[in-house]
């Protein structure tokens, strides 16, 4: 990874507080929607290191590309808070538009694209100058945010309009709108940009869209013995760097589905905590973390063995998760 130097600096800084930290130790940050906190977990032993007070109703959470700052959507404060990733001090607040829920950074690290659920807008913010660069009107209740690896195409999903909106990042024009099943929650490009995965929570499906043609090439449905079909509600989606596997969080089904991202065959369902929503890989992609809102924990999945190896207690209603080197 290109930002290894910064990561090592982070590791050194952390080691001042702890005694021995492996060189590849990283942190896991979890936003707790009902506690107004972020749980900070050290990968060394997967221990909770600190609980950070943040703004009201924290949901979307991400790291700046240089690894220096942690960004948190404080939805009920209508703001994005910027914390120093090492000292965990609040550095500044970005204008976000009302009710920011999820956001994504341009691959170059700036700007930040924010979904404003209450106002049917995507707000584009320069994170260095704090300036709002654009407001793009989209469908009702925008939530999911994906960006193509080349940074040219931004995709937003609107939960009540039920569309994936394709936005040109230079002109801020909508170039296409793809109708998907009910309540699309998340949009994730594969790392080579050839697939766009969009989860539909109430529809119970995941659409895989060809970004070039904007056609749905595959629609995944799920089936778990003993779980009612209504409970199979896909939310978070992550695709491995090599494009081999996709992981899909299935909400109240308490499962993460493992999908072969080439054949679209569902390989396995991993039992995790209750009401699983968002997912994040460890920097080396050896582990995957899932936020389990109702059981108030995150599950740690061993990506190679496809096994759940641990759960870590968080605050109430863990919502989003990010790791320090992602």
């Amino acid at each position: 990874m290109g930002n290894g130097a910064i990561l090592r600096t982070l590791g050194v800084a952390a080691s001042l507080a702890l005694t021995v930290v492996p060189a590849d130790a990283y942190k896991i940050y979890v936003s707790n929607e009902k506690d107004n906190t972020v749980t900070v977990i050290n990968s060394d032993g997967f221990k909770v290191e600190q609980t950070l007070d943040v703004g009201q109703r924290p949901r979307g959470i991400t790291m700046t590309k240089d690894g220096k700052y942690l960004l948190v959507c404080a939805s009920d404060d209508d703001a994005v808070q910027v914390f120093d990733a090492v000292t965990l001090k609040l550095i500044k607040t970005l204008p976000s538009g009302p009710d920011p829920e999820l956001f994504i950074l341009h691959p170059t690290g700036n700007p930040l694209y924010i979904a404003n659920e209450d106002d049917n807008l995507v707000t584009v913010v320069d994170i260095n100058t704090n300036k709002v660069l654009a407001e793009v009107p989209v469908g009702v209740e925008p939530e999911g945010m994906g960006i193509s690896p080349d940074g040219k195409v931004l995709v937003n999903t609107s939960e009540t309009t039920n569309m994936a909106h394709f936005i040109d990042t230079t002109t801020y024009e909508l170039t296409d709108n793809v109708l998907v099943d009910s309540r699309p929650r998340y949009a994730q490009f594969s790392h080579d940009g050839s697939q766009l995965w969009v989860s539909s929570e109430i529809g119970g499906t995941v659409a895989i869209i060809d970004p070039a043609t904007r056609k749905i090439i595959k629609k995944l449905t799920f089936e778990v013995p003993g779980v009612t079909p209504e409970a199979l509600q896909p939310v978070g989606v992550k695709v491995t760097q090599d494009g081999a596997l996709a992981f899909i969080a299935l909400g109240p089904a308490n499962r993460v589905a493992v999908v072969n991202a080439k054949t679209f065959e569902i390989m396995k369902y991993l039992l995790v905590g209750q009401r699983v929503w968002q997912l994040a890989f460890s920097p080396d992609q050896k582990h995957l973390f899932s936020t389990n809102g109702v059981s108030n924990d995150i599950s740690v999945i061993d990506v190679e063995r496809l096994k759940v190896i641990k759960s870590i207690r968080t605050g109430r209603f863990p919502w989003g998760v990010v790791t320090s080197q992602e």
Binding site: D99, E117, D118, N120, P137, G139, V140, E141, S158, E159, T160, T161, N162, M163, H165, L174, N177, L179, S182, R183, E201, I202, G203, G204, T228, E230, A231, P252
Partner: protein, 385 residues
Amino acid sequence: MLVIPFLILASPPLFAADDVASIKIGYISQQSVAPPNLSNLDVPPENEGIAGGEISIRDNNTTGRFMKQEFLLETAFLAENDDPVKAMEELAAKEVKFIVLDVAGDTVLKLADKAAGRDLLFLNATATDNRLRQQDCRGNVMHIVPSRAMYTDALAQYLVKKRWRKWFLVTGTLERDALFAESIKQSARKFGGKIVAEKQWKFGPDARRTAQAEVPGFTQDLDYDVLIVADEIGIFGEYLMYRTWKPQLIAGTQGLSPSTWHRTHEQWGSAQLQSRFFKRYKRRMRAKDYQVWAPIRAIGEAATRTNSNDFAKMVEYLKGTDFELAGFKGVPLTFRDWNWQLRQPILLIQPTALVSVSPQDGFLHPVSVLDTMGQDKKETTCKIN
């Protein structure tokens, strides 16, 4: 008669007006005046119901911008003596094909029969009568509001789950109170509740100053777990609480009550609809607002998914197996094909908090757990198909 047509477009249209397909949705509201003793209590907001409809039309139009569709709302607010058939004909003359109804059960039937065979579909937002889902069902009426049976089953499941099985049923003097009480009795039989005592409340119109004297004796010498009150318009039910002979719970139309919506409901994305509503109207969204929001969203969904404003296509979609509505209840809402009742989870509320959501865990059903509430296919006496 007051007929106010209006058009709301959430954002500037993306297409020239002549490319845009219009979908006109009507709303007829005619409710009886509250009895004098209630007139100075909580006056419902003037825009109760239609406010939810306006939000819904805005939502539809935001989506419509991407679909070359526009949604128009035509409303008719009727006084008690106005003729609803005339209002319906006026809407039909404006090419309204979908009409959301906030009227009594009898009026639903009157309109449905008058419109039989025509390109008109009614969506019932407020009439809870079980008979409209049973012997008096109609093929051109779809029910958004739950039936009384769904409401009382939702409550019964919770009480049985809590093992509060012995119920003392107190019924008001109105016909609708008797219907609610009858529905409670059916739910008791269905889930194993037991009506251990039954009384009618006949202490006159306003119990505010007399309840403390009357309620203790009225509830004395009875062995029950929960007092279930059947007082649909709220004449006396509120005055029972804290005044029973023994410290006892109240449920039914007051106390712990079933509802489609509540201001404290925030799960499953509903916080978003709540805050959208509050921002616009500076008041909390009420059950009736939700019950008018939902049918208009359902029509919007039909227009989006069929990419059409053709009546037959839209109705086929609404009545088909692909229809599902994301209604902020955590599961897709669908219609029962034996009586066109919308399947939905039901909130159990007290005035300032959400207590639970039914169906309760453990009540099973071979098709959908939502069908543990209300008239199931096997019990149906509806013959529309």
